[in-house]
């Protein structure tokens, strides 16, 4: 299967931050959620890929073509919604879209009209008169109108109020659910992409810490409560562990291993509850923040992600 993009040893260094080296790729037709706290390097990754920032080293390819700024044909295959929405401010949304249409042979005015109707955006208004939410919508229309094979979305709902955010996401996901494009969606709000993502990649302090299938996470992570008259337990795959006397609460990254161990220990009243993707992401990122210098570990030094499946890998 053709790769939508590839990062090979990509590095970008700032005075107090280094992104990379990044080595990962995205298969065509796959939706990858790129998760990380503020300042982790998500936007810098996007900027390097679209050529707004020059990486210090490494190579990036989009559908097999290097992202060479002097041979920009690769940009015809991408739709990009950045962290900043830039337009000719004194032109209407419609005029800005007309300007952009000249650069993309696959541009569809019918698609623009359909998207404008679904997003309910006043295209006759000047760009400078549009609200934050409408600017995001205009950016999305300009990114989608030429039916790109790869969509790069950099926190598109950042700064929007909850009502507008829901509105934008509902329409966006309706459009994207046809499953025909690769999508690289960066966010620190996991619920934005949870519905759509096939895979999730966790970035922290410029390093890619984990990449896994979304279902792998929800299938394996559990909150487990039990009674056991014993402290100082060393449970496999336990990410966090609290206890009040005999009552214990554990978050496990591999409930099967943890439950097996609890059975061997004779734990009582064992109950397990599924976790939402948001809850799992918080635990992953908490664990990353706590043990930044030692890699990805949970409490008692156990690996944060203990998943034997091939699709889950620490990177």
């Amino acid at each position: 299967m053709q790769r939508a993009f590839t990062f090979r040893d990509v590095k970008k260094t700032y005075p107090e931050f280094q992104l990379g080296p990044l080595n990962f790729e995205l298969e065509s037709g796959t939706v990858l959620g790129y998760i990380g706290p503020n300042g982790s390097g998500k936007t810098t990754t996007m900027h390097c890929l679209v050529g707004l920032v020059k990486a210090d080293s490494g190579e990036m390819e989009i559908f097999g073509r290097r992202n060479d700024p002097n041979k920009p044909a690769w940009k015809l295959d991408i739709g990009y919604v950045g962290d900043v929405h830039v337009f000719y401010e004194n032109w209407s949304g419609e005029k800005n879209l007309k300007f952009l249409s000249q650069f993309y042979p696959n541009w569809s005015d019918e698609l623009v009209a359909d998207l404008a109707k679904r997003f309910v955006i006043p295209l006759h208004k000047k760009a400078k008169e549009l609200s934050g939410g409408n600017r995001v919508k205009l950016s999305l229309i300009s990114a989608l109108a030429h039916s790109p094979k790869l969509l790069l979305l950099d926190e598109p709902t950042s700064g929007l109020d909850p009502v507008v955010r829901t509105e934008v996401l509902d329409v966006l996901f309706q459009v994207l659910e046809d499953g025909e494009r690769a999508i690289f969606y960066s966010t620190h709000i996991l619920s934005d992409i949870a519905r759509l993502a096939d895979e999730l990649a966790f970035l922290d302090n410029g390093k890619l810490k984990l990449r896994t299938g979304k279902d792998d996470l929800t299938d394996h992570w559990r909150k487990i409560s039990f009674r056991l008259e014993r402290n100082n337990l060393e449970l496999e795959a336990a990410v966090s562990h609290k206890n009040e006397g005999k009552d214990h609460q554990v978050i496990s990254s591999n409930h099967e291993d943890t439950l097996r161990q609890l059975r061997e220990l004779g734990a009582e009243n064992v109950q397990e509850n599924r976790m939402t993707i948001d809850e799992i992401a918080v635990q992953i990122l908490k664990g990353v923040n706590k043990d930044r210098n030692h890699g990805l570990h949970g409490c008692h030094g156990t690996p944060l992600i203990n998943n034997p499946r091939k699709s889950a890998k620490s990177v």
Binding site: H47, V50, G51, L52, V53, K54, P69, N70, K71, P72, A73, W74, K75, L76, Y80, G82, V84, V86, F87, Y88, E89, N90, W91, F99, L100, Q102, F103, Y104
Partner: protein, 230 residues
């Protein structure tokens, strides 16, 4: 690239139209009737035209920076070199329009005043204006090429020195012409040489080469930027 140039002309059409009206009005006024009935002052006319174009250029640059236009263009599927060329050509083509219209008016209104040296002067001013259009882009882009504070301080220092020199040179020419009583004995050779050069073919060649050389350099420096975020 032409889509960008067309868009820029359309986006700035009101300010360009105003600039054109002012320039044409002044040209017709000076060529047709003169300010005080004196013979047409070619350097004076060109100075006014150049000043109006520079003002137009300034307002365009301010708007470009405020609206992050270069960032907008940098995401488009066109080569970096074309973006850099387009941003130069907007003003260069406007000046070319003004240049051609001036000559049409001149040959209609004052054909008897024609001298070959006027062509050299016109070309010299064109070269200077092309250079003035290109240099600030070079200077600004260099700030995006170098990240160190001391490098930026050096660049700023160079820019201030060049600006002072240019201001002094043009001031001397104007002072000598309009205030001949002001003693400028030590500076006379400098500005006289400069003024004479602009009326000579070698001067026209020099200033045109300077203009196109800086324009070419601005294309290179734009592509060397470390980022296109503003």
């Amino acid at each position: 690239m032409w889509h960008i140039i067309k868009a820029e002309f359309e986006y700035h059409k009101f300010s360009m139209a105003l600039a054109l009206i002012v320039i044409m009005g002044l040209d017709i006024g000076i060529l047709g009737w003169g300010w005080t009935g004196i013979r047409p002052d070619i350097p004076g006319i060109y100075t006014i035209m150049a000043v109006v174009v520079v003002v137009l250029w300034f307002f365009r640059i301010v708007r470009m920076i405020k609206e992050k236009t270069e960032r907008y263009h940098a995401t488009l599927p066109i080569a970096r070199g074309e973006i850099a060329l387009a941003r130069l050509l907007v003003i260069d083509l406007f000046w070319l329009t003004v240049f051609v219209l001036f000559w049409i008016l001149f040959l209609i209104i004052r054909p008897q005043s024609f001298q070959l040296s006027i062509i050299w002067y016109s070309l010299s001013v064109t070269g200077i204006l092309v250079a003035v259009n290109a240099y600030p882009f070079i200077h600004r882009d260099l700030f995006y090429c170098f990240t160190g504070l001391y490098q930026k301080v050096i660049l700023t220092f160079i820019y201030v020195i060049l600006l002072l020199l240019a201001t002094l040179l043009f001031s001397l020419t104007a002072i000598q012409r309009y205030f001949p009583d002001v003693p400028l004995d030590s500076a006379v050779p400098l500005h006289a040489s400069f003024a004479e050069l602009t009326w000579m073919p070698i001067g026209a060649l020099f200033f045109l080469m300077l203009g196109f050389g800086l324009s070419y350099l601005s294309l290179i420096v734009f592509q060397k930027r470390k980022h296109y975020l503003e």
